[in-house]
């Protein structure tokens, strides 16, 4: 994807947008611009499908859904912070041949970026519509937390939002309750560990980044990041799907302020989780003893894609009655993947043995970034080990 130069990022790259369809502004998040952009893309056959998140059984259940008709978009409106999904691998595994648009969190956009670099996704065939993200909460943790701290039946929650440092729930009778995320996280609840460590809150690695930070009521704040993103907005405006206006200076300031607060929280959590409270060598050994080599961490990693994995070759076969040699399994994975770890946390989420795999991968990525300047999932550059720069190592 061709990114706009920093010099291009002037005020016209920041807009407020809203849907021109009342049904969408009523049900969509903050103005419904994202939904209307999807409608524009589908109605004009610019894409074959739109990959987005569908509410399943309740607000804690998000299921990726491919929409192929503009009329379906309305069914998927709204935010789902308790659905920590990942779409990078879905696209590379099943939709690589199709022209699609996709709603992405920053970590989704990072994964897609790494997969484009590995030629697993064709960057020309995909529109990435970024959604600002304050983090996600595991569905079971969310329900337990709502019962314990909000003192309400989790099944009564019809909507949730992360805003102004609070996790806010809306109940079936319209009542809203918000509790500071910091307070929840101090008690071991709140966002997933990797989300707490995340420092990319506005997905500038997507074609556009959308959200409510700094927006006026009924409007979506949109940052245009690429030329493709600009064309997308221009097309949606001229097609009559959205209307736009310039954000006020105050709106820009508020957005910057919110983003910086979230980034600082991320930095603080990174230092805490990966450094001051990091597991000791002995604690890691106990973690590796639980490993059953089920490959869940490998299989879920959006970046890890080899059709024939070396780890399944006979020379890596382990005694099935014992955990794998950590160096021969996790060590090999670390050497292959950690430079490109996008801190999506999926490996933690799916590990049956509750091994906090991502903390090691993220820690190494941070070290790698410090040494090489390579930030996984951002820009067109390949990790140095995959580029001509490898001669320097």
């Amino acid at each position: 994807m061709s990114l706009l130069n920093i010099g291009d990022i002037m005020s016209d790259k920041f807009i407020l947008a809203k849907s021109k369809e009342n049904e969408i502004t009523d049900s969509g998040a903050c103005g419904g611009a994202v939904s209307s952009i999807f409608q524009y893309l589908l109605s004009n056959d610019i894409v074959d499908g739109v990959l987005t998140l569908n509410k399943g059984d309740d607000v804690y259940d998000g299921v990726p859904r491919l929409l192929t008709d503009a009329s379906e978009v309305i069914e998927t409106c709204g935010s789902l912070h308790c659905a920590p999904t990942m779409v990078g691998d879905l696209i590379s595994d099943y939709l690589a041949d199709e022209k699609i648009a996709v709603a992405v969190k920053p970590c989704d956009a990072k994964a897609i970026n790494e997969l484009v670099k590995r030629h697993r996704i064709d960057g020309d065939k995909i529109f990435t519509i970024g959604l600002n993200c304050g983090g996600t909460v595991r569905p079971e943790v969310a329900q337990e937390m709502i019962e314990k701290f909000y003192e309400v039946d989790p099944s009564r929650v019809v909507k949730e939002e992360i805003d102004k440092g609070k996790f806010i729930i809306e109940l079936d009778d319209g009542e809203e309750i918000g509790i500071k995320i910091d307070d929840l996280e101090e008690e071991g609840y709140g966002r997933r560990d990797n989300c707490q460590r995340c420092e990319l809150k506005v997905p500038r690695n997507a074609d556009i980044s959308c959200g409510n930070w700094g927006s006026e009521p009924g409007w979506t704040f949109v940052e245009i990041n690429t030329e493709k993103g600009q064309e997308l907005i221009d097309g949606a405006v001229s097609g009559g799907f959205i209307e736009t206006k310039a954000p006020s200076e105050k709106a820009m300031e508020i957005r910057d302020k919110v983003e910086n607060i979230m980034i600082n929280m991320g930095k603080k959590s990174t230092a805490k989780q990966l450094d001051t409270e990091a597991l000791t060598i002995e604690e890691w050994e106990n973690q590796w003893n639980k490993c059953i080599k089920c490959f869940a961490c490998r299989d879920i990693c959006p970046i890890c894609w080899c059709n024939e994995c070396e780890l399944e070759k006979p020379y890596f076969k382990d005694d099935k009655q014992a955990p794998p040699d950590p160096l021969g399994f996790h060590g090999v994975r670390l050497s292959h993947m950690s430079p490109s770890c996008v801190n999506c946390g999926q490996c933690d989420d799916v590990c049956p043995m509750e091994i906090p795999v991502s903390k090691l991968f993220h820690k190494l990525q941070v070290k790698y970034q410090d040494e090489t300047g390579y930030v996984a999932g951002i820009g067109d550059e390949k990790p140095p080990l995959y580029s001509p720069q490898k001669e320097n190592f």
Binding site: Y60, V63, L90, K290, F295, A296, P323, P352, M353
Partner: protein
């Protein structure tokens, strides 16, 4: 068209949630079902690999001649089964169901057996007898002060082992009894006790370490008598008991049918002229000599295996992803699932097959 739908994992009796990814009518992958309260999106390799059955399965109703399947059609095969059933007495029919059947299928098969007058009906329970006592819940494991595991649940039922991991994080103690020299469960246990021919003594030796805050999990038994020993330990120590099975609906089958061991199944086969086996591979626990040439075998399963070659008729039935129904997991929770993949075939579901045979 890409589609992702919730289902229940068919690989063991824990009852994990699983999302099935299908594209243009074919199952292509799995995706974490994070909303599911039992496993929160975590699935073991067996669970994720459960879709491999779509890669190489029996696709058509078939007659078996000289150990080779000859594809036919549903109507011809159903007629052949009906002809067989019409030629025997009710006492000559035996039906072996399995923990792979849904509760609805089991009810339908029982209804068929009752109408036909067939009394020889049951399923292979892997040496677990019918057990209707109080069961430990998964939350009981999380909160347990001591968990006694008999078998290797870290390897075989990882999403139950996860509960033990959480219990240990809360200060709980893990005792493991097994006949193997080592296993991942034994390596993670605070105490590992290996038994040889002294199972009863070794089980009795841990009695003083168990109380009402303890849970006994058992996933491996060499005989039904061994279960009686464990049940006795549970009663004497007040520890809660959780038998874990290797099929998704063994508990549902146990609630409806007799749990049979190998000898009982051999006897049934010896006494029958027609044997209907529904979603089970008898060679997992019997020898070829136990079944060869003894009965006319109707095998309802899409699994390509040696047992299919030794059968007389094979009807693929439907895979779990192609049908709806309920499974009862090992803690007794009945979970319903919907059709998660609309596959392109004309196979009859197990319920349709028994409707046709009725």
């Amino acid at each position: 068209m890409l589609d992702i739908k919730h289902t229940i994992c068919p690989s063991c009796s824990v009852g994990c949630g699983l999302n099935i990814v299908s594209k243009d009518g074919a199952v292509v992958g799995t995706y974490p079902y994070k909303r599911h309260p039992i496993n929160e999106g975590k699935n073991c390799l067996n669970g994720r690999d459960s879709i491999l059955q779509f890669e190489d399965s029996i696709e058509k109703a078939s007659f078996v001649k000289n150990n080779e399947l000859e594809e036919s059609d549903n109507a011809s095969v159903i007629k052949a089964i009906k002809d067989q059933l019409a030629s025997i007495d009710a006492s000559d029919l035996a039906i072996i169901c399995s923990g792979n059947n849904t509760n609805e299928e089991l009810d339908k098969i029982i209804e068929f057996a009752n109408a036909y007058g067939c009394e020889k009906i049951g399923f292979y329970g892997s040496n677990f007898p019918n057990f209707s006592g109080e069961l430990a819940s998964y939350d009981d494991i999380n909160k347990a002060s001591t968990v006694l595991v008999i078998g290797d649940i870290y390897r075989e039922n990882p999403l139950l082992a996860r509960r033990v991991v959480l219990s240990k994080e809360n200060g709980g103690k893990l005792i493991n009894i097994d006949d193997v020299e080592k296993s991942i469960t034994s390596l993670n246990a605070d105490d590992f006790i290996q038994f040889t021919d002294d199972f009863n003594d070794k089980v009795a030796s841990v009695k003083d370490q168990l109380d009402e805050n303890s849970v006994i999990i058992v996933n491996k038994l060499s005989s039904k008598d061994d279960f009686a020993v464990i049940e006795e330990l549970s009663k004497e120590s007040n520890a809660k008991l959780l038998p874990v099975f290797n099929a998704p609906n063994t508990k549902g089958a146990m609630n409806r049918l007799d749990s049979l061991d190998c000898d009982e199944i051999r006897n049934i086969i010896d006494d029958s002229k027609v044997l209907i086996v529904v979603k089970d591979n008898l060679l997992d626990y019997l020898s070829e000599d136990d079944i060869k040439g003894k009965s006319f075998i109707v095998n309802i399963s899409n699994e390509k295996n040696r047992f299919a070659e030794l059968s007389d008729i094979v009807l693929p039935g439907k895979s779990w992803a192609e049908k709806e129904g309920t499974f009862t997991n090992c803690e007794g929770l009945e979970q319903s699932f919907i059709i998660s993949a609309e596959c392109d075939n004309d196979n009859l579901s197990e319920i349709e097959i028994f409707d046709e045979l009725a």
